[in-house]
């Protein structure tokens, strides 16, 4: 039975509801506005009085997905589909690479005692709290020399700064939550290290692994600066590609909004699907049963 909180009087509940509604409007308004914008005509968008009632049209989507007359301005042309594909390739590959390298690392950090263990773990974490702009210039110069500039491989590699620490740290917590005796039992049951890892440890962290991978995907997908500096018009992810709608002559607000909406969709859908596990994934390791 739920304990009746003292905040459950009708008055309190109304106040709480109002506060939450207020925050929801504040947080969601830009999103709603950009969705509305994506369905407006150019005239409606630039109208001096913000328009809430308009005739919706899918012209902007048609233009960015299939091209067409709407892309009238030479300088404003942008290949959104290419950028969206770039985003998919770079982000998914980056997450897969991080899983491949990060899961064994997480296991080692969770289970074994070795020299500099804590220093190594901290170094991983430090990738997360160093601002990206602090490292971007040296990386840019290195990439130019190593011919990694404007390549998928280069971008996938630099995205490890985002995805790898996340996976190592969260998955380490999941491995630590598995009782050592369960793995010892499996060893005595006749399984080698690899057998124990694949048959016991991995299946037990699988739900956590999936949500952590999605989280890493979202962070990587949202990244802007790495693509902007280390990519070029062939390899831009869609976050950077969206800028292409700004030209000397005009800003294609409608198409930009449509591109933004499509870019938001993959992480949004994933986040909704794994919402339940995501919160658990983030608080895991902080709370010990």
């Amino acid at each position: 039975m739920m304990k009746r909180s003292r905040y459950s009087t009708p008055k309190h509940r109304t106040l709480i509801w109002l506060a939450l509604a207020g925050y929801a409007v504040f947080a969601l308004f830009p999103l709603i506005w950009v969705v509305m914008m994506s369905f407006k005509s150019h005239i409606d968008i630039v109208s001096p009085v913000p328009k809430f009632i308009f005739t919706p049209s899918i012209e902007n989507y048609r233009a960015i997905l299939f091209g067409g007359q709407s892309v009238q301005y030479e300088a404003g042309q942008t290949d959104f589909l290419l950028y969206f594909r770039n985003s998919c390739i770079i982000t998914i590959s980056a997450v897969l690479l991080s899983l491949l390298a990060g899961v064994p690392a997480a296991y080692a950090l969770a289970r074994y005692r070795f020299r500099f263990k804590d220093d190594i773990a901290f170094t991983f974490l430090s990738f997360r709290f160093a601002p990206e702009v602090a490292v971007i210039i040296p990386i840019y110069i290195l990439y130019q020399r190593l011919h990694l500039y404007n390549t998928y491989v280069g971008l996938i590699f630099v995205y490890q700064l985002i995805t790898l620490p996340l996976i190592v740290w969260i998955v380490r917590g999941y491995f630590e939550d598995i009782s050592v005796e369960i793995e010892q039992a499996a060893k005595l049951d006749g399984y080698s290290w690899w057998g124990v890892f694949t048959k016991i440890a991995l299946p037990l962290v699988k739900p956590g692994l999936a949500s952590t991978a999605v989280l890493a995907f979202i962070f990587a997908w949202n990244n802007f600066i790495f693509g902007l500096i280390l990519g070029s018009s062939d390899t831009y992810p869609s976050t950077v590609g969206t800028l292409g709608f700004i030209s000397y002559e005009s800003v294609l607000w409608g198409q930009m909004a449509a591109a933004t909406v499509i870019t938001i969709l993959p992480p949004l859908i994933l986040a909704i699907f794994i919402q339940k596990y995501l919160v658990r994934g983030l608080t895991m390791g902080a709370i010990r049963g």
Partner: protein, 375 residues
């Protein structure tokens, strides 16, 4: 057929010395109990035998073969963990089948199924086979973990406090079951416990461990009746043995008597003067509570005392008697004592044990370290 032998085995965790040079041997098809309080090094010893913990120093042999460096998956041992350590993502069936599905087991699907059903039948867990460990009660989990250990048909079964998380009734039931299985399974069992009753009831041989050192190895009868020292004497038996510091004096009739400092406690000395080490004056007198007899007649023989507190337990009572400054525990069938009632207490010479005050060693000297195991 499996004989486990440990020779001068040490286990250090950094600065902590968990096990400090222990040696013992467990004969084929014997139940050996390792008994000791928490932190004695019992689980470390068991995990070294299993191969789960590296050995700091010393040797472990299985049938005369050194197995120090044999990985656990290659050892001929199965283990029941204190935490049960069931695989949470598997059903009961899969848990029991897991050791049978390993490469080394080399069994086909039908053979595995037959073996699992057989074990489920024996442990009466057939209706649980489709459940997951989270849906089981403590007693059921215990059975499943035992079943998983038995499935492998290992020659050595290692058990780490397998009954400690069960309630008293179930523990008693499982103790009997274990003894029954052991007879039908023909396995060597090394059983770790902190419960002396479990050790006495199950084991053929008991190794008493404290702070990583062996205090005594013997049959249940030996460790109970001839404890090597005060530690063993206090560990085994409930209520605990009475230990009273005394001096040995010449009594009025020329016989040796043990007398406490204030003179109120005095019992005949069980050993003749020739049997005692020379210059020995101070000893600890040990009397088990059931051998301390209380007489309500104040004119009877023995020491004068008064009832301090009495605890009725149904079949018997624990009566505490104050003799001078000492409080002695007695286990008796009588229970109609009043607090502060004047009584007489005495103990026969044959029920009295003498221990060295400094070392705690039993001075009676007729206990035997390497006696034959009774079956």
């Amino acid at each position: 057929m499996s004989t486990i032998k440990l020779r001068d085995v040490h286990k250090h965790y950094g600065q902590v010395k968990a096990v400090r040079g222990i040696s013992f041997e467990c004969a084929d098809r014997e139940i050996l109990a390792i008994l000791g309080p928490s932190g004695a090094g019992k689980t470390s010893t068991l995990k070294m035998i299993a191969g789960l913990e590296p050995i700091t120093r010393g040797e472990i042999f299985d049938n005369g073969n050194l197995i120090n460096f044999l990985p656990p998956e290659k050892r001929n041992a199965a283990m029941v963990f204190e935490s049960y350590a069931l695989y949470p993502h598997f059903t009961v069936y899969e848990n029991i089948a897991f050791p049978l599905r390993s490469k080394s087991a080399q069994l086909n699907r039908e053979a595995i199924d037959t073996r699992v059903q057989e074990i489920a039948e024996m442990l009466q867990i057939k209706p649980l086979l489709d459940r997951r460990p989270a849906e089981l009660s403590g007693g059921q989990k215990q059975r499943v973990s035992l079943g998983r250990a038995l499935a492998k048909r290992a020659e050595v079964l290692l058990m780490d406090e397998p009954l400690s998380h069960l309630d008293a009734k179930l523990r008693h039931h499982m103790r009997r079951e274990l003894k029954k299985y052991q007879r039908s399974l023909d396995t060597t069992i090394i059983y770790v416990t902190h419960d002396y009753l479990e050790a006495l009831a199950l084991a053929h041989k008991i190794v008493i461990l404290n702070m990583g050192v062996i205090h005594q190895i013997g049959t249940p009868g030996e460790v109970y009746n001839h404890p090597a020292d005060t530690f063993v004497a206090s560990l085994i038996g409930q209520p605990r043995i009475n230990l009273i510091p005394c001096r040995i004096q010449n009594g009025s009739a020329g016989e040796l008597t043990c007398v406490s400092k204030d003179g109120s406690f005095h019992v005949p000395c069980p050993l003749a003067a020739a049997q005692l080490p020379p210059d020995l004056r101070e000893v600890l007198v040990g009397i088990r509570p059931q051998y301390l007899r209380i007489s309500p007649d104040p004119d009877d023989q023995g020491m004068a005392g008064e009832i301090y507190v009495s605890e009725y337990r149904g079949t018997d009572s624990i009566v505490e008697v104050k003799v001078g400054e000492h409080v002695l525990k007695s286990l008796t069938m009588e229970h109609d004592y009043r607090i502060a009632q004047a009584v007489r207490i005495q103990a026969s010479k044959t029920d009295i044990m003498l221990f060295d005050t400094d070392t705690g060693k039993n001075l009676s000297g007729h206990m035997n370290h390497n006696s034959q195991v009774e079956r």
